[in-house]
């Protein structure tokens, strides 16, 4: 069950372009499953920013000296993320979590490829551990626009069978996109599932590659969220249900991980005409 944690910042570390923030959050570690996220308040009642910001949970620690803690990876680029990146040890931090549906894990110990774009890698390390624990082979692909924006290379290498790296500018690994190396990794590892987290365009491309190879993809999407807990309906995406019908589903509670082949990628940001409850021409 998600709860409101009035926690404290234990540490903020700069890692490449990112900031890894550790905060106390007593109950998150025991409830946490890979793929969950937390929603962080931006300041107190004096703040003019009233909406929380969503961050994938990168790590949890149940037995530290601070009791339960949670780690997130923050890419500062707007008022809310800047605020969080500038927090200091001992500052108060209010976070709600764990939120969202976790990644679905395969029932069998099948090989899995994990693809992280930029800070999108954050939720994949605990996922890798969970998969490894089930006996799955794990291969990692990390991609970013440039070297500084790659996250977690050392750790990925440690917990995976192979690690492939791509950057748009070639400053690290292969120059190109994650999908340039993905087919090869799928083939070599014999993967049955691809997990991906990163920008929407990347998720779409990964999902297409997976489908092409006849394997399943789980994509963790990032839609703009006002509440993060399922009550406001801002974060919807057109998702094809088991009955074949497309519905506008909330990515905060029905996701953020969706099966890649069920997301209507090209129509994100629209209401596809055959969506359940779609407006008639000229309607809402």
């Amino acid at each position: 069950m998600p709860i409101v944690h009035k926690g404290t910042v234990v540490d903020v570390k700069k890692v490449g372009s990112y900031f890894v923030l550790t905060a106390t959050a007593a109950d998150i570690p025991k409830d946490f499953k890979p793929g969950n996220f937390v929603a962080v308040a931006i300041g107190d009642e004096r703040s003019s920013l009233i909406l929380r910001r969503a961050f994938s949970i990168y790590q949890v620690n149940d037995r530290g000296v601070y009791g339960g803690t949670v780690d997130i990876v923050v890419s500062p680029h707007g008022p809310g993320t800047d605020y969080i990146a500038n927090l200091k040890r001992n500052d108060p931090i209010n976070l709600v979590g764990p939120l969202g549906k976790p990644f679905s894990l395969p029932k069998e110990p099948v090989p899995c490829v994990l693809v992280g774009g930029g800070y999108g890698a954050a939720p994949l390390f605990t996922l890798a551990e969970a998969l490894t624990a089930r006996g799955c082979r794990v291969d990692f692909i990390l991609g970013a626009s440039t070297q500084e924006k790659l996250f977690g290379m050392l750790e990925a290498r440690r917990i995976s069978t192979t690690l492939s790296v791509t950057t748009d500018d070639g400053t690290s690994g292969v120059m190109g996109r994650v999908t340039d190396v993905l087919p090869d990794v799928i083939k070599k590892s014999g993967a049955a599932v691809v997990y991906a987290c990163g920008p929407m365009q990347m998720l779409k491309a990964v999902s297409e590659v997976a489908t092409l190879h006849g394997i399943v993809s789980q994509t963790s999407v990032e839609e703009s969220m006002a509440c993060g807990i399922g009550v406001c309906m801002t974060c919807v995406m057109p998702i094809i249900g088991e009955d074949g019908v497309t519905r506008m589903l909330r990515s905060c509670v029905d996701g953020p991980a969706f099966r890649g082949d069920k997301v209507r990628w090209d129509e994100v940001g629209t209401i596809p005409a055959d969506t359940w409850g779609a407006p008639e021409i000229g309607g809402h």
């Binding site: 009233i50 009550v231 309906m233 919807v236 506008m248 809402h284």
Partner: protein
């Protein structure tokens, strides 16, 4: 552990006409879905009432994303009334709420006058539904998309039609828009048409432009402004309506963030309040605001919430 109100010696109960509530703090329509998600954080049977997301006759996809933009001390939303339609809503959401034992106020909406009536009709004799909130702040497809609540006649037509389609014993609350020249005119018109109470206010029409694309940020271009930013407008509307209609039950809302804010609404004339956008910031807000209000009253030595309702009008008497 779900948050529940703290014990207090202050009598926090309130009345809306004949209806009694143990707490004056309700959810606001569209900011609590149908209560289920919030019930993870607070025990929703311990707040005054759950006001559900406005439901229409048929399932509805809502608008394309982006549906929201953050604004200074507020937000803009253009959800487009996404929802399952009244039948599915009754079967799933209302049955869950009534099983829980939550007090429920169902918010309804329609594209035209007739649709409001049809939705209302479906709600006859559904257990747990203590009142209906009629969200007339949606566009009237029959009248150039003008919002019902912006025209006294269109607003009255809706209330009239809903009144005819529900049992006489169920109270109707008309939810008013602040985007009008004189909100008391609309208030009087809907009361005459059969509204038993008023919900004040819905969002203000606003727009945010994306400074990268130089286009409106929301897919629907304009959206509804809510949150603390609009509180002074909401308090003014409650105050004006209370002055014009001294006895009408009012559910006040618009930017309530804490107990002090709630007190402003009660003093202005609200008999109960709804908490909307603040729930996104604090899922425990409804219970917290109940507690804070009780504490402030206690500090003031006031024994019962009813003593401060409409207090800001006392110099006019």
């Amino acid at each position: 552990m779900k948050r529940v109100p703290k014990r207090t010696t202050v009598d926090m109960s309130t009345k809306l006409g004949r209806l009694e509530f143990s707490s004056p703090v309700f959810t606001a329509s569209g900011c609590a879905a149908a209560g289920k998600e919030l019930d993870q954080f607070i025990d929703i049977t311990t707040i005054g009432a759950v006001v559900t997301k406005s439901v229409m006759l048929n399932p509805r996809s809502g608008r394309a994303t982006p549906r929201m933009a953050e604004t200074p001390s507020g937000m803009l939303n253009g959800i487009g009334l996404q929802g399952p339609g009244i039948d599915d809503f009754i079967q799933n959401d209302l049955s869950w709420l009534s099983q829980k034992g939550a007090k429920t106020i169902v918010s309804i909406a329609g594209n035209n006058v007739e649709e409001f009536g049809k939705v209302a009709d479906k709600l006859r004799d559904i257990p747990g539904v203590v009142a209906i909130e009629v969200n007339i702040s949606c566009p009237n497809v029959e009248n150039r998309g003008q919002v019902f609540a912006c025209d006294p006649y269109a607003a009255a037509d809706v209330i009239n039609n809903v009144r005819r389609n529900v049992s006489a014993s169920i109270p109707l609350f008309a939810k008013l828009s602040p985007d009008v020249t004189d909100i008391t005119e609309i208030a009087k018109s809907v009361v005459k048409a059969g509204a038993d109470g008023l919900s004040v206010i819905n969002t203000l029409l606003g727009m945010v432009i994306d400074t990268d694309t130089l286009l409106p940020k929301l897919s629907g271009k304009t959206g509804g402004l809510s949150g603390p930013a609009i509180r002074p407008v909401a308090v003014r509307c409650v105050y004006q309506i209370r002055k014009a209609l001294p006895n009408i039950p009012i559910i006040g809302m618009g930017g309530i963030r804490n107990g002090r804010d709630a007190i402003e609404f009660f003093a202005a004339g609200a008999n109960a309040i709804s908490v909307g956008t603040t729930v996104f910031n604090d899922p425990e807000a409804c219970v917290r605001i109940h507690d804070e209000t009780a504490e402030i009253l206690q500090e003031k030595g006031i024994r019962s919430l009813s003593e401060i309702i409409s207090a800001a009008h006392r110099e006019d008497l």
